[in-house]
């Protein structure tokens, strides 16, 4: 095991996959001249030349062309700069990428990755702070993943590049500088499989991305109060690992879902719905969701903190499903 940063981990994944397969290439705004806004592409131009490219500010073209490239025998990785800009290219994602394989009767694979740095970081305000997995949750044909650590970042990015289907890779901006243990040598984090970060018996806490570490902190604190929280790190947000969630809920009988995205129409809603569909008679409390209030992310730290979900919100939700006074 080595200790490296999240951005270094994604860089290693890119290097390994680009060395292995000459049809893997990456392009996006400001990734050659700047090395990516978080340094996650540093060194690739020297090694891979034209296979890493800066593009005009044309998200629609970036994403749409990734589809054309994937359909014709290459494995593009398109960087969105900020996940918020997916909105610019939404038709390409929703109507082209997600549907091409299906509507053409499975004639071609679509091995492409859209890297989308998301989340609240450094008071970037309404158009640079979003977690937009909810936007794409409703579209059949996409795979959506969100690593929570350097190790899962590398493993998931490698899996995403090898996947013969479109994958949106949400990487939380706050995670980039964070360091963590990463296995030596080549490994893959499987797509579609959640990981249990911490076993527990009283409450199932389903979460992903940045909220995993917040959840872990809350769980450690609650452990002292005798509350045993089982943390499920989803890793793949679509199609997510319902089986692991259900198995856990059937054990704990209580569930909280925590994400940074707004609650309304979010992933938590889908998870809660599936739990009540498939494990209703195991529930001792309603499934509670923790997420941002239904507002854009405001600028001032005071406002931002108020809108964003905090550790205390997770704690309160856990108390609530246990019917404890918090």
């Amino acid at each position: 095991m080595r200790t490296i940063s999240f951005s270094q981990a994604t860089l290693e994944a890119m290097q390994e996959e680009m060395r292995r397969d000459p049809t893997v290439f990456v392009y996006g705004e400001d990734i050659v001249r700047q090395g990516g806004i978080f340094g996650q592409f540093k060194g690739l131009p020297e090694e891979f030349g034209d296979r890493i490219r800066d593009v005009p500010i044309s998200e629609t073209a970036i994403v749409g062309a990734a589809l054309g490239a994937a359909l014709t025998g290459t494995r593009p990785v398109a960087d969105m700069h900020f996940a918020d800009f997916i909105g610019v290219a939404f038709d390409e994602i929703a109507n082209q990428i997600a549907k091409n394989r299906y509507m053409f009767g499975g004639q071609a694979n679509i091995p492409l990755v859209i890297r989308a740095p998301d989340g609240i970081s450094k008071q970037a305000a309404a158009q640079h702070s979003q977690s937009v997995e909810g936007w794409v949750q409703n579209i059949p044909g996409l795979i959506v993943v969100a690593p929570s650590s350097p190790a899962t970042a590398k493993g998931l990015l490698k899996s995403a590049i090898r996947q013969n289907d479109p994958v949106i890779f949400f990487e939380h901006k706050v995670l980039y500088p964070q360091k963590g243990p990463v296995p030596d040598g080549e490994y893959f984090t499987p797509i579609g499989k959640a990981e249990i970060r911490k076993p527990g018996t009283d409450v199932t806490l389903v979460t992903y991305s940045i909220m995993v570490q917040k959840s872990e902190e809350v769980a450690m604190e609650l452990e002292k109060e005798g509350i045993s929280v089982e943390i499920i790190d989803l890793l793949t947000l679509k199609p997510f690992d319902t089986a692991t969630i259900l198995e856990s809920v059937k054990k704990t009988h209580r569930c909280v879902v925590a994400h940074e995205a707004v609650v309304s129409g979010g992933l938590g809603a889908e998870i809660a719905a599936r739990i009540q569909e498939k494990a209703f008679f195991h529930l001792d409390a309603p499934v509670l969701r923790v997420g941002a209030k239904d507002r854009p992310i405001p600028f001032s730290p005071v406002l931002e903190n108020y809108i964003a979900a905090q550790k205390d919100d997770i704690r309160k939700a856990i108390y609530a499903v246990l019917y404890r006074e918090g």
Partner: protein, 432 residues
């Protein structure tokens, strides 16, 4: 707005509570969260905090009086607020109540008055207008009983009519914790709960003898032990094991400054044995039925200044040694300062009693009903064992398993005990 202080429900089976001590006097200011009084129920003594800010306007139930759950025991009012007096309640500072204090009621012989007379009449006369039902009942106007889906499933499995359960969830809904999973027959449980309260010390002393009144906890324990002894055909198997490995493990945790005692290690080893031999991790349901559990929750017998308490060390298989050690440390600290809560006693599936620290070499323990087995552990002591042509000194630990012969036969218990012996001698593979 005056708020009534109600006798809280502090556990599954609590139907009434004894006011041990008022920590505030009438007229004294109280703030939300501050301790108002302490209550003893059948399992523990618990401090009860104020739910509102204000002044303790009136104490309706004096110390050492038992009242049903949900009864008003006092009133908190705003400062300078006139407290509406219940019709028959006295307006004076010190309320006269029709309650008979148990301290006065106990005759020298120790014979108790029938419970009916002890039931206090805390709200004599017409109820004050704002008085609400103590706890919202689970059933609504239409007779629909609010409950969580899981609570319904549990109640169904236990054959319990939800209408007989008092809910503690939101709006009085019945939730899982309200369903007595303990499978003692219901009447028996109610009987235990109805047992007359016994005033805790002071000891009544007269010429020539001393009468000691057991605490409520002690008397419940006494009942249970008698019940166990009288109704369970129990037998005991004795064994011993080389203790070197568990001692080394305990040392290792000590050097890592982890609070993992020998008792914790043995509890976990017992738990892993119980998973393999589920009939010792079970409760007797009666009627030819026994329920085994997937999870192992080990009751640990603990010595406290107040006497024996047997809280539960939960999830001994799934939790690691370190985590169990921390939980155990917390349990024993809270046992010492009397802050164990009813929840700490819930859910035990097997019991461990370790008297090794007193130098007791071997003993048999009495089954903690409705469980089917208990492990008694003695002291570690050196002994000479053959080695080559001579002898070497080895540390041995003795232990015994007492089991319910209605459920467990001798060979089964012997196999379980052999498994445990093997684990004690080779505990390392359980390390995570």
């Amino acid at each position: 707005m005056a708020t009534e202080i109600l006798m809280p429900q502090l556990g599954l089976t609590m139907t009434e509570g004894l006011i041990m001590e008022w920590k505030k006097r009438e007229g004294e200011k109280v703030s939300r969260g501050e301790v108002l009084f302490s209550v003893e129920n059948d399992k523990a003594t618990i401090d009860v905090s104020a739910q509102a800010d204000g002044v303790l306007a009136r104490i309706l139930v004096p110390e050492m009086v038992t009242v049903p759950v949900g009864s008003a025991v006092g009133i908190i009012a705003g400062e300078n607020e006139a407290v509406p007096a219940p019709a028959a309640a006295p307006g004076a500072k010190k309320p006269e109540t029709t309650v008979t204090a148990t301290t006065e009621a106990i005759p020298a012989s120790g014979q108790l008055k029938p419970q009916a007379e002890l039931k206090p009449n805390t709200q004599p006369g017409p109820q004050p207008e704002q008085a609400k039902p103590a706890l919202a009942q689970a059933a609504d106007d239409t007779g629909y009983i609010r409950s969580s889906p899981y609570a319904r499933v549990l109640a169904d499995a236990e054959g319990i009519n939800l209408g007989t359960i008092r809910g503690t969830g939101p709006e009085g809904a019945i939730i899982a914790r309200d369903i007595p999973l303990d499978s003692r027959p219901r009447e028996q449980m109610q009987q235990l709960d109805r047992m007359p309260p016994i005033a805790q010390t002071p000891i009544v002393q007269q010429a020539g003898f001393v009468d000691i009144n057991l605490t409520r906890i002690q008397s419940v324990a006494a009942e249970r032990m008698a019940q166990s002894w009288a109704t369970i055909p129990q037998f005991t198997l004795y064994d011993e094991a080389d203790a070197a490995a568990v001692q080394a493990l305990a040392e290792r945790f000590k050097s890592e400054q982890k609070p993992v005692s020998l008792t914790v290690i043995l509890a976990k080893l017992l738990a892993h044995t119980a998973v393999k031999y589920p009939l010792i991790n079970a409760v007797w349901l009666g009627g030819g039925k026994v329920r085994t559990f997937r999870d192992v929750m080990v009751n640990i017998a603990m010595d406290t200044p107040e006497g024996l308490v047997v809280p539960v060390l939960p999830h001994c298989v799934t939790r690691g040694f370190g985590e169990l050690g921390r939980v155990m440390k917390d349990l024993s600290e809270r046992a010492k300062n009397r802050s164990l809560t009813p929840a700490d006693y819930e859910g035990g599936t097997i019991t461990l009693s370790n008297l090794g620290m007193f130098g007791i070499k071997r003993f048999r323990a009495i089954i903690n009903p409705p469980q089917t087995a208990i492990l008694a552990v003695g002291a570690i002591s050196p002994r000479l064992v053959p080695s080559g042509s001579g002898y070497v000194s080895r540390n041995y630990i003795e232990f015994s398993l007492t089991a319910d012969h209605r459920v467990v036969d001798g060979a089964y218990a012997a196999r379980a005990l052999a498994h445990l012996r093997n684990l004690i001698e080779n505990p390392l593979f359980l390390l995570d």
